[in-house]
Amino acid sequence: MDQETSRRSTAVSATDPWVRRLLVAVLVTLVLVLTAVVYMVYTGVLTAQAPRTLAEKQTAMLDQAFKATPDDPVIVADYMRALIAVERYANARSVLKTYRSGETAAAAVVTVEEARLLDATGDSEEALKVLDTAADEARAQKESIIQGQLKRGITAPVSAPVLVDALLLKVEILQRDERLEEALSALDEALEEQPTMADVFSWRGDINASLGRVDEARADYEKALGMIPDYQPALDGLSALEGGGL
């Protein structure tokens, strides 16, 4: 009797139009899922592939370098910068976390990339604070090198490229936030540190021009052109000044 009831109930289910429709929908979806799996297997997307873009190559090569030497601050910084460039922020955070979890001293080059990551993820205020820390670390590092050289009787000038990086990133953020006076001050320090950057002179010229300081702007553009006579951004800037763009 029970078996008979069950048989009839099954028959009722099978003849229910909604059950039939749902069965067709399940079948169609199952076929699509299987197709997706077949496509993945056929095209080999699941296997490790050679890089297809410069960004993929850079991140792949830096990933290998990072795995080999996770405590090298220069590799960590390069890797973080490459990941930030392709908007893989979670990976960049993970690299930073791994680096910081090791027995590593503070490294300005990594701190600058931490700031870049913060800025890229929308926290520009925190990024500026971290950049100040990075700049302090870079200045301390420079001072330490100078003292070391002095002990050995060397008085050669010491450059601090990381300090310049920190300052220029700071300028980018400040300019975007229209804090132009602070941006100019950071640019001044960057140019004092490395006075051979035609693009940065031209950049300062642009900011001076937007603040209406025509003479300062002209002087900056001319300095840039003194280094690279056909430097187009500086020529454009001068032309805007001459053309009464201001």
């Binding site: 749902l22 899922v33 997706a36 077949v38 496509y39 997307v45 050679a50 873009t53 993929e56 392709v86």
Partner: protein, 398 residues
């Protein structure tokens, strides 16, 4: 009994809805995964590319690790099945890639040849039956290998740089100009010895043969492109290019064609000559009728879509794209340029179908089968019911 059946049907519906939701979620997840993996990370935006260049993808090597990257890709060739063959002089190998960029085969001459020789493989040409002719420029030999990587035969040629099959002949450019061989290596003829005069050639890095048998040669160090008839008589030559150095003035007033170091050369789907100029960092399009330069595409740079010393180029008619050996950037770039092939819906569909997209036809076929089975069973059911009714009526009469 009726309520038990109803409960059963409700339970079945709920179970099926649950299964359907899970499958749909799985499908969406897989779709997202596939799309995110197929789209290369950091692909250049259209606005970042030089005018006229459409970037498809780059191939940086044959695997993900640092020692699997190209060092000096030199020439490319598209096989009859779309395989992209690449020679890398520093890796002493040629590589075959499927059109989606995955490695099919590496043929390493260091392993292939028993003697310890550095062949410096350059130009490649593939026959319709899959034999691969490779210029071993420092070995002074042409090597013929199978797609499986077996050495079939080889013969001597002084510093061969590029080669091209045309019917049963192989045209080889090298130190001695153009040498013509049978595909078994029997010498047939030679012309254009090394020199600066119009009918001479100076280390020509590229050769291609038109449908009518015209032999077009990139006369590299003379900064010209020359056309010869099948017997080797000069038909035309481009105006003098620039032989002074890299990246100088391209304008036709001062430099004729503006060619500086014409290298790899091929013929596109529109019948135009297309070559690369390593010192111009671009792709140059030339009218095969008279050698007039009709277009230049490309800029110097390391970003994808830019060129740094491109030396080899080949054309895939089925996909209407070019494989460019971008030597100084250690990569091969797959790019398109304007007017190189057929346009319109038919060619777009044809191009789409030569890729792995055809595999998506599987669900359509399966669904069609399901629909056919359903339709067939629907047709059978009323007939069976009709038969049962007929039987019942018959037995009632009896």
């Amino acid at each position: 009994m009726s309520s038990a059946g109803s409960r059963r049907a409700t339970g079945t519906r709920a179970a099926l809805i649950g299964v359907l939701v899970i499958l749909l979620l799985l499908l969406v997840g897989l779709g997202y995964f596939i799309v995110s993996i197929l789209e290369p990370v950091g692909s250049p935006a259209k606005s970042e590319l030089p005018e006229g260049i459409e970037w498809v993808r780059s191939i940086y090597g044959y695997g993900p690790s640092a020692n699997q990257q190209f060092i000096s890709p030199d020439h490319t060739e598209i096989g009859p099945d779309g395989t992209i063959w690449v020679s890398d002089t520093q890796l002493n190998s040629i590589f075959g890639f499927s059109p989606d960029g995955s490695l099919r085969r590496r043929i390493d001459f260091s392993q292939l040849l028993e003697e310890d020789s550095w062949t410096l493989p350059k130009g490649i040409s593939v026959s319709p039956d899959g034999e691969i002719f490779v210029c071993g420029s420092s070995a002074d030999r042409i090597f013929v290998v199978s797609e499986q990587g077996e050495l079939l035969r080889s013969w001597d040629v002084a510093q061969p740089l590029d080669c091209r099959l045309y019917g049963d002949r192989l045209y080889v450019t090298g130190l001695e100009g153009v040498s013509v061989f049978s595909t078994d290596g029997e010498p047939i003829g030679t012309w254009g010895g090394r020199g600066k005069s119009l009918d001479e050639l100076d280390l020509p890095q590229g050769v291609v043969v038109g449908d009518d048998g015209t032999v077009y040669v990139a006369d590299t160090l003379n900064a010209r492109v020359k056309a010869f008839d099948p017997q080797g008589a000069l038909m035309w030559t481009t105006k003098a290019g620039i032989t002074g150095g890299m990246g100088t003035d391209r304008s036709s007033e001062t430099s004729g064609t503006g060619l500086q170091l014409p290298s790899g050369i091929c013929i596109d789907g529109s019948g135009r000559l297309v070559l690369v100029d390593p010192f111009g960092f671009d792709i140059v399009v030339i009218d095969p009728a008279d050698g007039t330069v009709i277009g230049r595409y490309g800029e110097f740079g390391s970003g994808d879509g830019m060129f740094g010393y491109p030396t080899g180029i080949s054309y895939d008619d089925a996909r209407d794209w070019f494989a460019v050996a971008d030597t100084a950037n250690d990569r091969v770039q797959i790019v398109r340029i304007p007017d190189s092939g057929e346009t319109g819906v038919v060619s777009a569909v044809r191009r789409a179908l030569v890729g792995p997209v055809w595999i998506c036809a599987i669900p359509l076929v399966l669904l069609l089968l399901v629909a056919l089975v359903a339709a067939f069973s629907k047709r059978r059911r009323p007939k069976e019911q009709q038969d049962i009714t007929h039987d019942a009526v018959s037995s009632g009469i009896e």
